[in-house]
Amino acid sequence: MEDKTLISVRDLTVGFPAGKGDIHTVLDHINFDIGQGEIVGIVGESGSGKSMTALSIMGLLSKDAVIMDGTVELRGTDILNIDHEKRRKIQGDDMTMVFQEPMTSLNPVMRIGDQVGEVLKLHTKLHDDEIERRVAESLLSVGLKNPEELMKSYPHQLSGGMRQRVMIAMAIINQPDLIICDEPTTALDVTVQAQILALLKKIHREKKCSILFISHDLNVIKEICQRVIVMYHGTIVEQGSVDEVMYAPKHDYTRKLIASMPEQLSENISKDPLIHVKDLNIYYRTAGKIFTSKKDRMVYVKDLSFDIYKGEIFGLVGESGCGKTTVAKALTGLNTDIEGTMDLGGTMPQMVFQDPFSSLNPAMKIGKILEEPLKLAGVKNKTERREKVNEVLQEIGLDESFAGRYARELSGGQRQRIAIGLALMRGEKFIIADEPVSALDVTVQSQILKLLIRLHKERGLTILLISHDLNIVRHMCNRVVVMYLGRIVEMADVNELYDNPMHPYTRMLFESILTDKKKTDTDKITVNEVRPLKRDQEMCAFYGRCRYAQDKCQEKALELRNIGTEESPHLLRCCLRIARDE
């Protein structure tokens, strides 16, 4: 595979002016090759220069960027310093790019057909009919059905996964030699992510093109790439075959990246329920009317029953839209439109939000933000409040000087520490962490998770951890509940659930995680994207997507039943008993 080099990057150094004639270097003497038909991955945290490398190759660097040194060659010809016209030709014919955000990288006012065909219009002299035929072909090859109909629709009519497929169709239509994918699956659900990766592999096999795959997620890289480049602070710290780098990392940073999964919890927890939820329904008002009545609300989460034991970490997983956050809102009192029993055991649940950039008030200093819960609790003494703030700051691994800063002066990880500190200010015993690390870099993620585990151990903190990252849940939680479309479909101890998933949806979730044990055969996953059924129906909500679906699934309302033992219950909402090895 190395015999024919497609792209060769030598000593590439790029910087940005930092004022007063200084230049801030973002890429520092980068050297690597991409062979013909090879999939190369670049991994690193944000700010490591991954995207800058891609943009340099594509010639999409912003005008401010200064190329200080080096060359980028395409089949032996320099493409770094060429004029606009030649560059345009290369961009259309030889290489294309798939971006991270399928929501914003498609033009919202252009029909899908026109957008996908745009490249051909610009770079070939093909007739309109021929272009249309090629677009339809391309859409079919990325697994989208009914291309004729799809070509007439607009991006907002498509789901995130479909949009990313359209982006890929757009990228491959003119049969480029190189496709650069910049975090193409980061914005997607795990199940959709696995489908997109499988699709990229299929395209690679069929079209024999090279792919430069950029991701911060090692598991994704491991899944798809042949060779991997590890970047850190604008330099390449290590490169080699996937197996070499993953299983015998030479550089410290690579080891840190690989080791950034948190330690596993293994301790016995009490069976003493702290939180008791029984038959809880949570509603949302449907907006748009002046006078709303009870009829205008829709049930978003139905028949929710669970206990959270004192001192455990309880995991809640499911894809976006399944009602995870809605449950958190009900428990914290942000959504009061509920029916059923909710016993909070005298606690006042505190919440750590997903996005640390919007969960801290930008107009207040950190000290004031942290003092607020004490003020609300009626602590009048100023010095007492200050002391408590300093105490908590130390506990979350920051020092007293942070009290005088504003949130915007802090990094994402530091902000999330503050958000955790805020939840601890009043010494509450129960906190809800709603996707607490999904907005953070991998290495920072593990620090925050370690902080949560430490607090859990030291303070005996009970945590409800909401996450779509099944690896994190496995490492952190004692028990796990899986939700689908507003209902619990399965609940069990973490080991039982991961070893013996019984619900078809849980299995689908697990198949889509990319574990480090084996390379899952992602080609096998062929789940259609079906519009989900209504939430208030009685029959199995997963019916439309279930690969084991039978006629009897439509018949009756389903109860959660215990298929485990009395001692360690394994609750399941499915009318089928699927054999373990099916």
Partner: protein
């Protein structure tokens, strides 16, 4: 590399000098502002009377100094009424939404769709003329622009996670609105207030010009312009000086509001 905010610097300088000028005028003026002197009727600017004298022989510099104070006083109170009530109404309607919001916004639209001078005229004809009535009328008419701005900002912030975070901590609605949300929009409020101040200066000038606002012999910049219009040809300085000061006040505050806007954008 930080660019200097020249708008703010120049605006603050102009306004600062004017405020000093006005402040001195409240305690000391070169001549009496009411004493007339037939011999000096429409006297041209000279070393004794730097800005000249008016139709009754009064020193224009002294009257401008004093009149500036009246104008500032009226404008400040107007903006105060408008911003305090506007902020409270806007914050509450934006935060709670629902039918209250709809009703208030429709009233707002109606008030905004008439020329404000016309509305003030109607108002004055009902409650009578005079400095304080003009302040009241203008103040009420300035409420809608604050309501609109504060409401839209509150709506923007109320769904942010820090607001939810405060609620989870147990903060009540009033505390969330006034302690957590409003500090975030203080700069927008200052900008709107600066623009409102300009409009108030102009409105006071026009009201006094029409004879409805400040009553003689108390000087105000608008009043002086109104009195000067009969003498534009034989004593142009009578109209020019108050006019220049009005222009400077407006320029100063416009630059300040522009500067504040730039400051928030960077």
């Amino acid at each position: 590399m930080k660019k200097r905010n020249y708008n703010l610097i120049i605006g603050l300088t102009i306004t600062g000098v004017l405020l000093l000028f006005t402040l001195i005028g409240q305690f000391w003026t070169p001549y009496s502002i009411t004493e007339t002197n037939v011999a000096l009727k429409n006297a041209a600017p000279s070393l004794e009377h730097l800005m000249g004298c008016d139709n009754l022989g009064r020193d224009i510099l002294s009257r401008v100094m004093k009149g500036c104070g009246t104008t500032f006083f009226v404008a400040l109170l107007t903006v105060a009424i408008g911003s305090v009530f506007g902020t409270i109404i806007g914050a509450l309607t934006g935060f709670y939404g629902g039918w209250l919001d709809r009703i208030v916004m429709r009233i707002n639209d109606i008030l905004l769709s008439f020329p404000s001078v016309l509305l003030v005229l109607i108002f004055i004809s009902v409650i009578g003329k005079g400095k304080y009535n003009v302040i009241l009328a203008l103040g009420i008419l300035f409420i809608p622009s604050f309501v609109r701005m504060v409401r839209s900002e509150v709506i923007r912030y109320k769904e942010q996670e820090f607001v939810k975070s405060a609620r989870v901590l147990g903060a009540g609605n009033m505390r969330i609105i006034f302690v957590h949300i409003l500090p975030n929009i203080s700069v927008s409020m200052l900008t709107t207030a600066a623009i409102g101040f300009n409009n108030a200066v102009l409105a006071e000038a026009s009201m006094s010009y029409l004879g409805l606002g400040v009553q003689p012999p108390e000087p105000s910049l608008g009043r002086m312009l109104s009195e000067a219009q009969g003498y534009v040809f034989n004593a142009p300085w009578y109209a020019i000086w108050p006019g220049i000061v009005i222009v400077l006040i407006i320029l100063g505050f416009s630059l300040i509001s522009e500067g504040l806007r730039k400051m928030t954008e960077s």
